[in-house]
Assembly symmetry: C2
Homo-oligomer: 341 residues x 2
C-alpha cells in the first residue's frame, strides 16, 4: 500500500465552526529524500483528536496554529523507511506529529520510539498508551488524586481518554459516573467497563441525574467537555474537590468567546482546584505509566475500543465524528499497512 507519491491534506483555510473538507486541499507531491540527520517516516495510523480543531484555528493554543498551505498537523504512528539519522533505523516504529500525509521527514524533534509489548497489536498503542492512555493516567492520578471511596465524574466518558479514566478510577476504588451522548455508549460504560453509573446528556437532565448517581457528592471531575456539563458537576463538588481539565470540546467550534462555567463561584466556596494539563507535560514520565497500564490491561481491568477508518482521503470528513459523537472508541485513520500485514 506504499504510495508512489506523497499524498497530503494541506490546511488551506481557517475553519469557522466545524472543520470542513473545503478547509483542506488534497495535494500529491514527490516523496521527499531525507538529508543528513533526517529520517523518512511512512504513516501507518493517524490519530484524530478533538485538539485538531484548535490547531486549525489562527489562535495559539498550547501549540502554534498550523500554517496555511502546510500539511494538517496530526499525531501518528509511522515506520522508518529510510534513515540518515543516528538514532533511527529502517523498520523502526515511531510516534510523532507526522501529519495528515503518507510520508514525513523528521529530524527527531518531538519523536518517540514506540516500544509496544509484543503480545499487543500495534493499534493498542493508540488505544491504551500514547497521548490517550497517558493523558488518562497522569491527568486522573496526578491532578485528580482519587482516593478509595471517593466519587469520580468523567465527561466525554465514552471517548478514548474518558473511558480509560473511568476504568482507572474503578481500579483506584472510586465510585465512577460517566457522562456520554448515546444510550449505546452509556450501556458500554456500565455493562462492559464497570462504571457505576452513566448519564446520556442528550436524553437526560444532567444535574439531577448526577445528584442521584453521586449521593455523596463529587470529589474528582475529569473534564473533557465544559459548558453546561461542567456546570452540573461543579454544583455538586465536595469540599476540596479536584477538577482535571483535559478538554473543553463543547467550546472548540465556537465562533465567538464563550462564557466560563456559571458555577465558577463553587470553586471558591468548595475550595476546589481546577487544573489544566496536556500530556506533553508528562511525556517524560511515560515509563512510570506504561508498565502499569499494560499490567491492568492483561488483568482484564482496562478495555478499549478503536474506530479505525481506512484511507487518508477520509480524514477531513471523519474528524467531525469527534464533535458529533458518532465515533465509537479511539478514532484512527489507517494510512498504510502495519509491518507484516
Amino acid at each position: 500500500m506504499a504510495q508512489p507519491v506523497n499524498r497530503q491534506w494541506l490546511l488551506t483555510s481557517r475553519p469557522r465552526g466545524l472543520l470542513k473538507e473545503s478547509d483542506f486541499t488534497w495535494n500529491e507531491s514527490q516523496i521527499p529524500e531525507p538529508a543528513e540527520g533526517q529520517a523518512l517516516v511512512r504513516n501507518i495510523y493517524l490519530s484524530l483528536d478533538p485538539t485538531n480543531r484548535g490547531w486549525a484555528s489562527d489562535r495559539t493554543t498550547y501549540m502554534p496554529p498550523v500554517e496555511l498551505g502546510t500539511p494538517m498537523r496530526g499525531f501518528a504512528i509511522g515506520i522508518v523507511e529510510k534513515s540518515h539519522h543516528p538514532d533511527f533505523q529502517e523498520g523502526q516504529l515511531l510516534e510523532g506529529f507526522f501529519g495528515w500525509q503518507d510520508f514525513c521527514l523528521t529530524d527527531g524533534n518531538h519523536v518517540t520510539p514506540v516500544h509496544l509489548d509484543p503480545e499487543l497489536p500495534l493499534s493498542a498503542h493508540f488505544g491504551l498508551f500514547a497521548h490517550i492512555g497517558l493523558t488518562a493516567y497522569f491527568g486522573l492520578l496526578e491532578i485528580g488524586e482519587p482516593k478509595p471511596g471517593e466519587t469520580l465524574v468523567v465527561s466525554g466518558a465514552a471517548g478514548a481518554v474518558g473511558s480509560l479514566v473511568g476504568q482507572i478510577g474503578k481500579i483506584k476504588g472510586c465510585h465512577v459516573v460517566g457522562i456520554a451522548g448515546t444510550d449505546e455508549k452509556c450501556h458500554w460504560l456500565t455493562e462492559e467497563l464497570g462504571f457505576d453509573g452513566a448519564i446520556n446528556y442528550k436524553a437526560e437532565k444532567v444535574q439531577p441525574r448526577l445528584k442521584e448517581l453521586c449521593p455523596d457528592g463529587i470529589d474528582v471531575i475529569f473534564e473533557n467537555v465544559g459548558g453546561p456539563i461542567l456546570d452540573a458537576s461543579l454544583s455538586l463538588m465536595n469540599l476540596h474537590a479536584r477538577v482535571a481539565l483535559c478538554g473543553l470540546i463543547s467550546m472548540y467550534n465556537a465562533e465567538k468567546m464563550v462564557p466560563g462555567p456559571f458555577g465558577f463561584p463553587y470553586v471558591l466556596v468548595r475550595r476546589a482546584k481546577i487544573q489544566g494539563f496536556i500530556i506533553g507535560d508528562y511525556m517524560h514520565r511515560a515509563a512510570e505509566a506504561i508498565p502499569e497500564i499494560t499490567h491492568w490491561y492483561k488483568e482484564g481491568k482496562l478495555k478499549y475500543r478503536l474506530d479505525i477508518v481506512d484511507g487518508l482521503e477520509e480524514a477531513p470528513k471523519v474528524v467531525n465524528r469527534l464533535f458529533d459523537g458518532s465515533h465509537k472508541g479511539k478514532l484512527l485513520v489507517q494510512v498504510s499497512d502495519e509491518p507484516g500485514a
Copy 2:
C-alpha cells in the same frame, strides 16, 4: 463605653443586591449571663468583610446562611467579661464570630485567643493577622507559590488582604502589579507599598495596561474580584500559572447567575491551576505565619492601614464601602473601647 444593654443588628430580610439598612433590625436586649461552660465576650473591633454579603443570602456558601431574626454574623475581637469556661479568663482577648452586637456568649467553638506582640496596637491584629494577614500569607505562598523573578498580579490590591499580598510578593522577589479602583489607591500601592505597577480599573483599560506592566506575562494571580478583571489576567497567564482564588467580589451582589470567566479556556491551554481557598483551611497553621509577618512588619516591609468607623449603629451603612470601594484599608467598626483606653 460598656453598654447597659446588648445592642444588636438582627438580619431580618434577605438582601437583593447590596446590603441595605432595611435588611437589618436594631434590637436592644438584656446582657446575657454565661452558663457553665460559657463565657461572655464584649466586642471591641468588629471586622466588616466582603464575605458578609454571602452570609446574608439564603445560599450556603462555605458557611450556612445567617438565620433571619438572629444577629448578623461578623468576625470580631472581644474581651472576656465573665467566664464560666475553663479555657477563658476575665480580661482575655479573643477572636471569633461574635456578631454585630455588643455582647456575645461563647462556648469556645471557633474561638481563638489573641496573642499580639506587645509592641503592636490591638487594631494591628486585623491589619496584619487574623483572617486578613493569614489569608494573604497562605493564599499567596501555598497556592500561588511565587518564585523570585515571577510576575504576580493582585486584584482588589488596595484592600486589606490584597495590599498585604502584594507586599509579601515583593518580599519574595516578584514583579508585582496591583489592580485597584482609584488613583489614590494606585498611588498608595506604588509609592508607599512598593508595588511595581498599579492599574485603576475604573479609569484605564485593564488588559492592555496589564500587558504593558507585565512584559514577561503573569505567573501568579491573587484574585479577589472575578469578572472582566480576572479575564484580563487569565489572558496573559504564562504556562503553569497559579490562580489563588480568594474572592469574587464583583459577583457577590449579583441577583442572578453570572457567567464564569470568558478566558476559562486559558486554564487549559496554559495548563494553569485555579484553586479556591478560605482561611479556615489554614487557621491551624497560624503559628507558622504570625512570627514571619511580625518580623516583616518590624523590618518595615509590611504596611497596613485601617478604616475604623466608630459605633455599632454604623455597621449596615458602612459595610457597603467594601463594594463601592470607598473604604481605605481594613474596614472595622469600633464597638467598644480597647482595654486601658
